[in-house]
């Protein structure tokens, strides 16, 4: 947020791509798919986390801050302990704990969830800045390894792109499946869905509304932390103030685009990962005018953000016809038997 938003990592990347030899369309597509999946993974984690939180009826707008915190703390702990895995754990814990504040304010104190989430986001971003102040530019921090999945990676076209990735990407695949299963095939998932739609009904049936909400806000926070750590310890890697550049916000938009469903959210996240990558790849194509006019790069950088807005317009237009909409109780505090809220 704030001034750190303006810094653009992509700027650095651009220079390195421009000087590479021209590539054919197949390779272009492979690169795009692979990079899309890789870059989409942090988005995926954040989106899945927010899906879970919103399914319980709580809107958490602090995702960006939680991601930044996860990135900084994960990086820092990995540096301190020499273990990327510990860094990851630390990131998830820190973000989860912080989200609990939001849960306390929104669920127990029934305060306005928008402002609370925004406040949380500011806090998280600021804290990340503080935590990461001495971490900028460190280079020999342990990171997650990339490895090929033998056999699968030799599938033509898709193989290298999908199965020659960093381990966090595989974690992402796993998490999508787990999330889907959790939401639709477990009892808790059913209770979660009930709580988000009709907390009064769930409460009357003896389901602990507050408990579920706290739990899933924390879980959402943990996943946002995971998202940040996957950025700083795998995908980027490294730490720079404000390195998420709004991906947390894109994740919130993707939740809407994905209709609060893990599979569609995954699709959206990978799509957006590709969109973030696209400008860089396009600039390597000498036959396009982009190659020759560096100024167009600024406009290409807008692509993910413009796409998010477009995607929201689409989602809004079609939602009236589709059944899948927001959880009915999203953003509304629940108090048993209280009149007038």
């Amino acid at each position: 947020m704030a001034r750190s938003l303006i810094h653009d990592l992509g700027q650095q990347r651009r220079e390195s791509v421009v000087n590479q030899p021209p590539i054919g369309p197949l390779v272009f597509f492979e690169n795009l798919l692979g990079a899309g999946v890789a870059r989409g993974t942090p988005l995926l984690f954040a989106t899945l986390g927010e899906v879970l939180a919103e399914r319980s009826g709580v809107l958490n707008l602090g995702v960006e801050g939680m991601m930044l915190l996860g990135a900084a703390s994960g990086f820092g702990v990995a540096h301190l302990t020499g273990s990327a895995a510990l860094g990851l754990l630390a990131a998830m814990t820190a973000s989860a704990l912080l989200s609990l504040i939001h849960a306390l304010v929104s669920v127990t104190l029934t305060a306005d969830q928008v402002v609370s989430g925004l406040g949380l986001g500011f806090f998280g971003a600021g804290l990340a800045s503080v935590v990461g102040a001495d971490l900028v530019g460190l280079s020999n921090v342990p990171r997650f390894p990339a490895f090929e999945l033998a056999g699968l990676s030799s599938i033509p076209l898709l193989g290298p792109a999908l199965f020659g990735q960093n381990v966090v990407v595989y974690l992402g695949f796993l998490l999508v499946a787990l999330c889907w299963f959790y939401l639709y095939r477990t009892r808790i998932g059913l209770e979660l869905r009930a709580v988000g739609e009709s907390p009064a009904a769930a409460d009357a049936l003896g389901i602990g509304v507050s408990r579920l909400r706290y739990g899933h806000v924390a879980l959402g926070g943990a996943l946002a932390g995971l998202a940040g750590a996957s950025l700083s310890l795998a995908i980027t890697p490294g730490w720079v103030d404000g390195m998420t550049s709004g991906q947390g916000w894109i994740a919130v938009g993707l939740v809407i685009f994905g209709g609060w469903d893990p599979l569609r959210a995954a699709l959206g996240a990978y799509l957006f990962g590709a969109i973030r990558r696209l400008p860089l790849d396009l600039q390597g194509v000498q036959s396009l005018p982009l190659f020759h006019n560096p100024n167009l790069g600024y406009f290409l950088d807008m692509l993910p953000y413009v796409s998010t807005v477009l995607v929201l317009v689409l989602a809004g237009a079609t939602r009236l016809r589709r059944r899948m909409g927001a959880p009915a109780a999203l953003g509304q505090p629940f108090v048993r038997g209280e009149r007038g809220r």
Partner: protein
């Protein structure tokens, strides 16, 4: 009554703030009986039963089930004691399927097996004689079927003592009959049913014993309902020989204030809801719309009010063509609307009582807001209508439903400006006194009788829809029956009785014609 009571409530009390919702109530329930809890709205019937069902914790008193003292901390505990409640506002999750709703919170395994669970629910429904489709989405179901899902849910939990809170409030006469048949079957299986209702006749027919509650207290128990007269029951409910008689007066029909021609309106889902309706409403009369909920009444009223687009036909207000006018312009012509949703449509919850009362007349001559001038008038109306509030500055959302409705009525039944009033079930959820008051207000709004104070200078015309058929018959000068978006019958006050109108509403007698109602 040779058997022992299966449930004993002794001295049960519950209060919210300073108000005692339930005050030292004793009650005995015997196996195999239908026990009715009769009382006006606000008497405490639901609150009492919510304590039995584990939703509320009693502040005093104790409960005994099968002779053993119990203390429920949650609905789950009550279920464990075979006690379950079917609420007035269904506790169903619309986006989940029937089987998911039925089994929710009731011992599902950690990993779900949808096919097996759906089959289980379907089989149980068949066994219990309840017609439901286990795989349907609850949001798609009609009201009667949703109620069956609720009943199925409590039965599948092994509930033997079932509490039904105002079950027929949303049912058509035919569906009510089906419900009572189900209740009879259950009683034959030695279940105990508690029927909460404010409908005298229904309770007399269906229940073996009746306990009347008033203001949180149990005031009388009638062991043989057919022996006691309706008068006795009503007296017990209201507490005095209050004549609930309304002064109808002799209204003189005046000019046509509202004219609707071949109106076509669509529902929210895009389906036709109003199919070429013709209406004429004259000053000085109440035209009642009788119809089962969902037959186009709401869409019709909203279209006339300008809150819903009109697909075809036109309408005239006070002689002027109004089809293209905005709702504000129609309001300026004298149209007023009492909506169904009083908490978020009829009032702005965080605004004060004063601000809500002036929502039709806050615009002055300039751009500046002058509420002070309107404050004394607001205070007057608060006193006149006996609105229980700490003052004009209180936030509207803190008012109870009945008082909120009075605020809306104070605003909409403005004698100076209201010419055509559209009212959607204006007495829903109000206690008997307030209900009588409001009914009288509606009747008075259409008359100019110098002998009764506070009358309008010019009589208004009222279009009224109510789910309470008795109310409609009592208030309407003319009654139009609406079915599937068409007006199928029109009668004058006193020409048809309740069962006949009920039949017309469900379309089970003559062929519906696109009749003109004038």
């Amino acid at each position: 009554m040779a058997q022992a009571p299966v449930v004993r409530l002794r001295s049960l009390s519950k209060h919210f703030g300073t108000v005692h919702a339930v005050d030292r109530v004793d009650l005995d329930l015997y196996p195999g009986e239908v026990h009715a809890l009769l009382g006006e709205n606000g008497a405490g019937k639901s609150t009492l039963m919510c304590m039995l069902a584990g939703l509320y914790r009693p502040d005093a008193g104790h409960l005994e089930v099968h002779g053993k003292p119990v203390s429920f901390h949650s609905p789950r505990d009550a279920m464990a004691a075979s006690i379950g409640m079917v609420h007035q506002h269904f506790m169903l999750v619309p986006t989940l399927t029937v089987w998911e709703n039925v089994l929710l919170g009731g011992g599902l395994p950690p990993l779900l097996r949808p096919k097996r669970a759906a089959a289980q629910v379907q089989e149980a429904a068949q066994r219990l004689g309840l017609r439901v489709d286990a795989r349907a989405q609850v949001g798609d179901l009609g009201v009667g079927e949703q109620q069956r899902v609720e009943i199925l849910r409590v039965l599948m939990r092994g509930v033997r003592i079932m509490i039904l809170d105002e079950p027929t409030a949303v049912l058509s006469p035919g569906e009510s009959e089906a419900l009572f048949a189900t209740i009879r079957t259950l009683c034959e299986q030695n279940c105990t049913i508690v029927l909460i209702s404010h409908k005298l006749e229904e309770v007399r027919r269906a229940a073996r014993r009746i306990t009347v509650m008033r203001r949180g207290r149990s005031v009388a128990t009638f062991d043989d309902p057919m022996e006691s007269t309706a008068r006795e029951l009503a007296a017990a409910m209201v507490g005095e020989e209050v004549s609930l008689e309304l002064h109808r007066g002799e209204p003189v029909p005046g000019d046509v204030l509202l004219e609707v021609r071949q109106l076509e309106v669509r529902s929210d889902r895009g389906l036709p809801a109003v199919r070429r309706i013709d209406l004429q409403l004259r000053a000085g009369e109440i035209l009642g719309l009788a119809g089962v909920a969902g037959n186009g009444q709401v869409e019709l009223m909203e279209a006339i009010a300008g809150l819903r687009p009109v697909e075809g036909g036109d309408l005239k207000l006070c002689g002027q063509s109004a089809t293209r006018l905005s709702s504000r312009q129609r309001a300026e012509l004298g149209l007023r609307f009492i909506p169904e949703d009083r908490t978020h449509t009829g009032t702005a919850p965080s605004l004060s009582v004063l601000e809500n009362m002036v929502l039709r007349r806050y615009r002055g001559r300039g751009p500046w807001l002058r509420l002070d001038a309107l404050r004394s008038r607001c205070q007057q109306q608060i006193e006149q209508l006996q609105i229980a509030t700490s003052g004009p500055e209180q936030a509207a959302r803190l008012l109870s439903g009945g008082n909120l409705q009075k605020v809306i009525l104070a605003r909409e039944l403005d004698p100076d400006q209201a010419r055509v009033i559209l009212a959607l079930h204006p007495t829903r959820g109000l206690d008997a006194r307030a209900t009588a008051q409001i009914r009288q207000l509606l009747l008075d709004a259409r008359r100019t009788d110098p002998a009764r104070g506070g009358h309008p200078a010019r009589p208004a015309a009222i279009l009224l829809w109510s789910e309470d058929l008795e109310e409609l018959l009592a208030l309407s000068d003319r009654l139009a029956v609406i079915n599937a978006g068409r007006i199928v019958h029109t009668v004058r006050h006193g020409e048809a009785d309740l069962p006949t109108v009920g039949r017309w509403m469900t379309g089970s007698s003559t062929e519906p014609e696109a009749a003109r109602a004038d």
